[in-house]
Subunit: 414 residues, 2 copies
Amino acid sequence: MDMKQRIAEANEEVVRRLTSGLPVLVDIAPAGEIIPGMQDKMITHSGPPIEWSRMCGAQQGAVIGMVIYEGWAENPEEARALLDRGEIHLEPNHPHSTVGPMAGTISPSAPVWVVENRTFGNRAFCRQVEPRQQFGDYSPEALDGLRRWRDVWAPTLREALLHTGGVELNPIIIQALQMGDELHNRHSASSSLFANQMAVAISRADIPRDRALPTLEYLAGHNLLFLGLAMAAGKAIADPARGVESSSLVVAMCRNGTEFGIQVSGLQEEWFVAPAPAVDGLYLPGFAPTDAGLDMGDSAIAETVGWGAFALGGAPGILALVGGTPEDALGYTREMKRITTATHPTHRMPALGFEGTSVGIDIRKVVQTNISPIIDTAIAHREAGHPIIGAGLVRAPLECFKDALRAFGERYAS
Amino acid sequence: MDMKQRIAEANEEVVRRLTSGLPVLVDIAPAGEIIPGMQDKMITHSGPPIEWSRMCGAQQGAVIGMVIYEGWAENPEEARALLDRGEIHLEPNHPHSTVGPMAGTISPSAPVWVVENRTFGNRAFCRQVEPRQQFGDYSPEALDGLRRWRDVWAPTLREALLHTGGVELNPIIIQALQMGDELHNRHSASSSLFANQMAVAISRADIPRDRALPTLEYLAGHNLLFLGLAMAAGKAIADPARGVESSSLVVAMCRNGTEFGIQVSGLQEEWFVAPAPAVDGLYLPGFAPTDAGLDMGDSAIAETVGWGAFALGGAPGILALVGGTPEDALGYTREMKRITTATHPTHRMPALGFEGTSVGIDIRKVVQTNISPIIDTAIAHREAGHPIIGAGLVRAPLECFKDALRAFGERYAS
């Protein structure tokens, strides 16, 4: 069997794994209880590995926020001092079967969504999605959102979930893709559908009104709620596709606001990184591109499994947030077919005649076509201390794919 | 001022009314308590006026169902005998500020959605949406759905609603149009968003779990729930546009399965009718076009105010139900611009670059272009006693518009 055919067969196996996942929400538990390798005085972050001093302003701000939230420091100055002295252990999320939106910071007491891939038995984790601390805001208001999640919303949802025994996520994902969500920046449908299931579960578990009502209000008012679930599901779907010898398909794309990194199935745990790109997007009033940090977050796990900008053509409602026309959106989605290997059998887009989403980014195709994966994203401030300032689209840097292809060639040349 | 300008000004006023409605769900009450003119031994029905003997099989079946549901007869034979003797008073919904899906039958004890148009102070009513009795099925299972609505779901929702003080429907309508609903055959988003709000209201009103839980399950499991609300909202929006002297715009389109009827603002309460058309659609397993009844229901109030097939281009998810391609759907929506007067300022469709829906069907434009309004619809059996058998698209008969234009010419010729 020649190398080309070996790669084709390996890629077929990776696509089989990427398209056969059965993600089920099984728990919402404190990170320290559930994430393998999570320790005291440890914070995980989005993107490829990076030390404290090289982190961008927003990610530093988010880490400072977690240090205060955990009570390891009283204020930002104390937190910075601890971090400067290296007393807080920082690690990327991905090696811990974990993902996080934007700065992606997770500390031991923060409850995370726990999603099990029933086809392969693996679990993945993602933190709460909110518009402040994950963007680098460490104000008391920002940290209050984390505390409400820890003390009220997450334990209430956990109790309801454990009482009713898990929520299958594919039915929600499939419906949401038919309701104009692309499952990265737009989660209006998925969040609403999930909220209704949890309302039934909360009633079934007979949770007292003093916790049920604020949790129902949280669910009904949070139209990006499902992003955390979609990210955990994406990670749970992508992880079993890792480490398939000879496969040239991408199994992770993520960014820490300083660097963009990818991992390739046949190249094990090696990171291929390039400087994080600037985002092309729309800004909230009072902000401009000169305020913006560079691309950040593990949320590109969505595009890695075929959602997000890969499904933009089916989600034109998002254009009010990121800019562009419905024709642009359909164009991006069609373009992504040129760098992928298969279409998903059940994740379908009505606006494209119920065609499946494009799955299996092939580093060879990216380099051959010079077409880089397009990604929906939000925009953080370049300095620490701010909530969200905008949203837009970004292209993964071609250099990551070129470097990966070079390494792939070296490894599999013989 | 010449006649042409008088018509233009009248139509502008009608469009102003059609686009400035503020529908609010204010109650869910038994028809006999709330619908003006509803009496004992009376059943209202969809479409233009029609006597019992000329009703189609499905509408007869639905009327029989209501007679048994009310306890006026023990079985279908007794019910038919009562109806044959003229002992049940039958009237169309529309003159009672009311609409109903498919057969549209409403009897005194049936709870109806009560929607108030806050801009004009008028109220409109619509019955529960379900897949059996409204299609002509009078089996015990079909009637059990009406009883559960009357005894559990409607009173629970009423209590929650009255406790929290009404639900504004425009925010749901606006969001749903951006989430792939067209607000006639597809209500996945609107139903889910409404259910989120009612879950909060049920908790706020502290309704006991034995009624709260089945109601939450009903809400979470009924993806056409909002159709009744959209129809009541459409009727509440359209009614203030009636009776504007010199206006050539349509204020009602409806069908009773025998005849299709329209009303025109400048022609007061006169009906212009033609034989109900056959539906072009997809059938549930085991059914074929030879089983189908003709077009039926007041639900074309959706198209009358710019939703339904007029917004099909923004709702490609529906094509799995009614057939066709996304390009067909966009084509229908663009075509409807040619027979309408304005675009809605806030009811927008992302897939059409956030353009507003087409509002104000002008009988002159319909006749000039030979383009008849297109309508999303469901399909009932031609005989009494069956639940839903399919769904599809239908064109309003041109004859209604030609007759109306003739009458309009006679009235305003001088």
